[in-house]
């Protein structure tokens, strides 16, 4: 995919428009899903699930600016799909239990973390509900900056532009205050036993 097309996709994704990814599903899904299910022991349903995950992975990398050019989107996605399938097979070896997406995502969040391990946090699953609830209680500006910085990983420069702020210092102060407020709300919810 040409550089200008990826730049267009990035600008649309930054605006929150995921519809720009439809073309990837139309052009690449059949190839990747059929080949993965035909050449490995992966079922068709699992292959579809993995293909969606590979597009999610590509989306994150485009937003973070880690990918600005691709010779072939198809090759990139198919290679990612094969790697993801191998990883799933490895993870499932020795266990009959199928991981849910939530468990897999939580695992990804904590794997390779040298400071905080998932075992350090008893309340991770409960936190999934509390964190969303606390965020929903905040004003839209706070919700936006937390979402852009901590969830989507946008740069401060992008955030200044997206939120129409005067400069990155203003953005930093806003981020600091909003995140502090969010954590205080989470603490309140925890104390209230939600």
């Amino acid at each position: 995919m040409e550089e200008k097309n990826l730049a267009y996709i990035k600008s649309e994704l930054l605006k929150g428009n995921n519809k720009c990814l439809e073309v990837i599903f139309k052009d690449e899904a059949d190839f990747c899903v059929k080949n993965l299910s035909n050449t490995t022991s992966c079922s068709y349903e699992d292959a579809e699930d993995i293909f969606v995950e590979s597009v999610l992975n590509l989306r994150e990398k485009i937003i973070a600016g880690k990918i600005t050019y691709l010779n072939s989107v198809r090759n990139y996605l198919y290679t990612t799909c094969k790697n993801m399938w191998s990883e799933r097979v490895r993870k499932l070896a020795g266990t009959q239990k199928k991981w849910s997406s939530i468990q897999a995502y939580l695992h990804d969040e904590y794997k390779d973390d040298p400071i905080v391990q998932k075992e350090d946090l008893q309340e991770t699953e409960t936190m999934l509900k509390i964190a969303n609830e606390a965020l929903s209680k905040m004003n839209s500006k706070c919700q936006d900056i937390i979402y852009y910085f901590y969830v989507e990983g946008h740069s401060m420069t992008d955030i200044v532009e997206l939120m129409d702020l005067s400069n990155s210092e203003v953005a930093k102060v806003l981020k600091y205050r909003c995140f502090k407020k969010l954590k205080n709300l989470v603490r309140e919810f925890q104390k209230a036993g939600r």
Binding site: V52, E109, V186
Partner: protein, 71 residues
């Protein structure tokens, strides 16, 4: 460690942009059970939860796109 420095460390840590020098500070804080660790654990749990929730929502949206192409 003052609260501004602690917040900066936590933000850099959560966004994966922490320097080797600051990472050493965090490792030291972990060994010494510095109060910043409690703040870091809560921050990590909150941010990870928001990311997981967001990814689940996105995945559902993209799965709809996948199936829509078949219509």
């Amino acid at each position: 460690m003052n609260s501004d420095k602690a917040q900066q460390l936590i933000d850099d840590y959560l966004s994966g942009t922490i320097s080797a020098e600051d990472m050493a500070l965090l490792r030291q804080a972990k060994e010494e059970n510095d109060p910043v660790m409690e703040e870091l654990k809560l921050s990590k749990a909150v941010v990870s939860s928001l990311r997981v929730n967001h990814r689940m929502t996105l995945k559902s949206e993209l799965t709809d796109m996948l199936h829509a192409r078949e219509l």
